[in-house]
Symmetry: C2
Subunit: 160 residues, 2 copies
């Protein structure tokens, strides 16, 4: 495992927005990210897991803290049009990423990352993966602890 992980990245000044109870039908996400794009708000992570009853689902996205209030206000204006239930947001968020190669073929990296955070009682609020990276959003207060613990667990020097 150790040689496959090349580094740990984190970004502290993040915020997250979750649009709760969206109808799960074509056009909904296009409208939300259309509005954000018109306001030139840079969104980092967009995460939607599968809806269960194929009726409603939630979409979470992360962005810079300074864009949070603009994003929340613009999406709140869509409440009637999109008929979502609620809008929640949090500006005390950090993004932590484990970066490596061929993550897909290494099921043990996710397990190791999640176990390290679990041992430190750090709750993962959002999870998103790609071939080269596993990213989680956690409470910002735990960012240093998370980064240090992950460096140790993956046998990286603090400077990686």
């Amino acid at each position: 495992e150790k040689q496959k992980v090349s580094g740990i990245a984190y970004s502290a000044e993040e915020a997250k927005v979750t649009v709760v109870g969206l109808p799960d039908k074509p056009g909904i996400a296009a409208r939300i990210f259309g509005v954000l794009s018109e306001l030139n708000i840079n969104v980092d992570m967009i995460v939607q897991s599968a809806s269960v009853n194929l009726q409603k689902t939630d979409i979470t996205f992360s962005l810079a803290r300074l864009d949070l209030s603009k994003a929340v206000m613009s999406i709140a204006n869509l409440k009637d049009e999109l008929a979502f239930e609620r809008l929640v947001h949090d500006d005390n968020i950090a993004k932590i990423s484990v970066i490596g190669t061929a993550m897909r073929t290494q099921p043990g990296i996710a397990k190791c990352m999640f176990e390290v955070l679990s041992e430190k009682k750090i709750n993962m609020q959002v999870i998103s993966t790609s071939e080269i990276k596993i990213s989680v959003l956690i409470q910002a207060d735990y960012a240093e602890l998370a980064v240090r613990s992950l460096h140790d667990a993956f046998g990286l020097d603090a400077s990686d």
Copy 2:
């Protein structure tokens, strides 16, 4: 927008599993992906959006169709230990990705991708993004239509 997108990728033989109503506390995800890692099941996307009431949340992951029944059985065995509500799965899934550079600074790419799929009435069941890629899971039947429409919209030749 066009010059920032370098290609469209898709993978048809996918399946997805959603673990519904998991307690949102440290250790839960570690246990699920620990079990999958022990069985040497390669997971592709892992997606969890934020829980709303900080009590329960869902985790969706995608994997090769041939690993689906092994994964479902092993997680079903964790139902009492993890106290989740339900386990749903679907083997008629394709993953479609728009690949580009510096996606984070291009809010218009997500909007464009989502609008193209919306126009073709293709529902996005799962969404996950990274700096270089936006990936969605859709019903496998629509894979060709999605890929072709996205090629057209981003001004790519069919061979990109």
